[in-house]
Symmetry: C2
Subunit: 327 residues, 2 copies
């Protein structure tokens, strides 16, 4: 309300143009986020943060785009398995390939996602970085999400795109800190989110520098170097960014340590959980889900309400996906 | 000359103010660098490179500051050994500590620097990131270089500081890609070079996220995760930056693969070697040196003169260190 008055005073009349988060319902969650950004960017104010330290980190799966019925990268790995099985007939009877060929998402995401990780190493490794990017680009062009019959990149969250733009307008640097494969992410996330490659952090496969046609090129090995999840997230944030974020956004217990890392620094901090509460427009799941398992982080949010906020997708978001705006 | 005329036309009269590389002697090396920057930043020109792709990578030891009589980080590790030996009496008779306590720089830098690396892991690991930063800061305050009797950070190269500033003014993003420990570098390099922590890449120790006084903190283990040298440099560049640099600067064979990686991309490229040719003002060494061994990279530079340049420190630099300007 105060903001509306101020904006009117400034001569901005269109409510839509005035509101950088127009796909968010007015309410406490939106208010918390807007107020946080305002307070850390108000020069001379008690919570002012210089531009160089305005770092925000975002999980990807379930935070910036959907992750059901299974992580989209897993869908890519299943596609790769089908693509490669002809030259690997033994895969028909060995895991994790057998589960992938049977589209057995439950098996692939059970028990700490072991089969999923093995499948990632086997099907996303063994080729150069450029080759992987080409494979991901081709898949994104042809693949369709089983429920929405749309390209997977259509299933990004419109309110989160607006939030990224709002942070950018306020001179934040937003990073993606994903459990997904670093190069899988980079193959599309810059185009879709406007986040440059140097601000995309993910899980890493071991990589070797080789000569091909006399030129150096980078070969991805079929072995993980670092799984960028849970306690791995603050470690990667320190390694890649070297500063502690003042805001972090996640949706599962895999983001708990990143949220703790961001919110336990000095000064004003914000940790936000995207809670999947919308069975109609998206999905509804949390404490009992194999995918996007959200349990401890939800308890932590309840304990530290002054620094944490929980987005209730059903109530806080006017629209979920960008394509709803075109209706 | 043409540049001087243009600048005069623009109303800039002081030659010193007009020359961003005023500590460089006029000559082909300076000309190559100035011309490279001009051509990739000339809008509409045949070699124009958009701002987002203006990435330059710099080795540190021997490229941005001196590295004799031994890498300065090794001097810090020797200091740490002396500091810690009282609580590790067994170090007096075991390597690499014995060599460190004897200040045996030859032993420590022989045979692929094995003892140096072991010493780094033992003396720069086993403490938190913040603790290491505090130790490095304290050491830099008190330690003096054996030849110049000055703080180690006084021994940065004035012409390279000017080059970093010139690239920044032309909207390049410069990264440090050092074989040195990532956090040892970050403890001082932002202040000294003006390069933010997220653009400092180095060797990494394994790190663990732990709780201390109930707050998450990052403990550096006494084990290398990645040695950021030679073939490791392009791998780290891909991992951290995700773009190929259009210019790279190094001084030894440990930079060869980074220089090849930068110069074999498409479009205009520049690879530069800082050659230590100045026994009077700095040091003179190359093909036979244990430290800053420069052999294959020098041959490569001779083969690809259109894309590589070699700085002859004695002839190309008017001054070496910033403190010479104050004389």
């Amino acid at each position: 309300m105060l903001q509306a008055i101020l904006l009117t005073t400034l001569g901005i009349t269109s409510a839509r143009a005035a509101d950088p988060l127009s796909s968010w319902n007015d309410g406490s969650t939106k208010q918390r986020i807007v107020e946080f950004v305002r307070s850390v960017t108000t020069a001379g104010g008690p919570h002012f943060v210089p531009v160089s330290q305005r770092i925000a980190t975002f999980d990807n799966d379930g935070t910036l785009w959907s992750e059901q019925p299974a992580y989209f990268q897993l869908q890519f790995s299943i596609h790769r398995t089908r693509q490669l099985v002809a030259s690997h007939p033994e895969w028909r009877n060995t895991q994790p390939f057998k589960a992938a060929l049977a589209n057995d998402l439950v098996a692939l995401t059970s028990g700490n996602h072991k089969l999923f990780l093995d499948l990632t190493a086997s099907t996303c490794g063994g080729l150069t970085v450029n080759e992987l990017h080409a494979e991901v680009a081709a898949w994104l062009k042809s693949a369709r999400h089983p429920r929405f019959k749309r390209p997977y990149t259509d299933l990004v969250f419109q309110p989160m795109l607006e939030l990224l733009a709002h942070l950018k307008a306020n001179r934040f640097k937003s990073y993606i800190v994903s459990g997904g494969d670093l190069e899988f992410m980079r193959a599309w996330a810059t185009r879709v989110y406007g986040i440059p490659p140097e601000r995309i952090i993910g899980s890493r496969l071991k990589t070797r520098s080789i000569l091909r046609d006399g030129k150096p090129t980078l070969l991805r090995l079929q072995e993980f170097e670092f799984f960028n999840n849970a306690a791995g997230k603050p470690i990667s944030i320190r390694k890649f960014i070297g500063r502690r974020p003042i805001a972090a956004f996640g949706n599962s217990d895999g983001d708990l340590q990143m949220l703790q890392w961001a919110t336990t620094g000095t000064g004003k901090r914000l940790g936000v959980i995207v809670r999947h509460t919308d069975r109609e427009r998206e999905w509804s799941y949390d404490r009992k889900s194999r995918i996007g398992h959200l349990d401890k982080a939800l308890d932590e949010a309840a304990k530290h309400k002054n620094r944490w906020a929980v987005i209730d997708m059903q109530n806080d978001w006017k629209v979920v996906y960008p394509f709803e705006l075109a209706k």
